[in-house]
Amino acid sequence: MAGASQPAGEPPLEGVLVFARAEFDRMLAYLRGDVTEERCGLLAGGGGRVTRVLPVPNAAKSPTEYRMDGQEFVDALIACDWEPLAIFHSHLAGPPLPSQTDIDSATVPEAVYVIASLASEPPSVRAFRIVAGRVSETELRIE
């Protein structure tokens, strides 16, 4: 998304997250399935490559925040061998950028945080690492 020189206010670019087109479309289809509450889930994979999309119900049932919990969350964690490559969620109206709530609750520095904004069609999707409150962008590559 971002180029070699970052516009003012844009996070720096670090790393790559690779999706197969089918997995990327599967994630978007799930996120588009509800425009009244944010949707979320985990992405399994390794080496920066997504191998499986694992939807998890949003326990917060909120249009502005998400929280994963319950048996579905445990099942998704087990499917990731407890180490999700990435954590994804939708923004219903806002941009595909981490909100302050997203930054404050991002406590997995190894994971990529994928955010899809449903405010546009097709949705705008970006990915970030969030480490101790510092945000950097991860390049999304769809193959």
Partner: protein, 78 residues
């Protein structure tokens, strides 16, 4: 309000029950309180911290307390 530290002894439990029991304990605690989870199942030293971190709680430390036993300290976030 003073920070509370609570001990959870789940030695003998295996995944995913280690995580589930830690989660249930955290739900009963207040933001800022610290849960000290005592485990003897080595995979839990990875699964419990990763799981609670995905949910936004802060993993303060994972340390061996004696051979085959570990303590995981978790601060519940608001």
């Amino acid at each position: 309000m003073a920070q509370v530290e609570q001990m959870l002894d789940i030695r003998g439990e295996v995944c995913p029950y280690t995580y589930v029991k830690a989660r249930l304990a955290l739900e009963e605690m207040q933001a800022g309180d610290v849960l000290r989870v005592w485990v003897d199942y080595e995979p839990a030293t990875r699964s419990v911290p990763r799981s609670v971190a995905v949910q936004g709680d802060e993993v303060l430390s994972v340390a061996a307390t004696q051979p085959g036993e570990w303590e995981i300290r978790i601060r519940k976030r608001g």
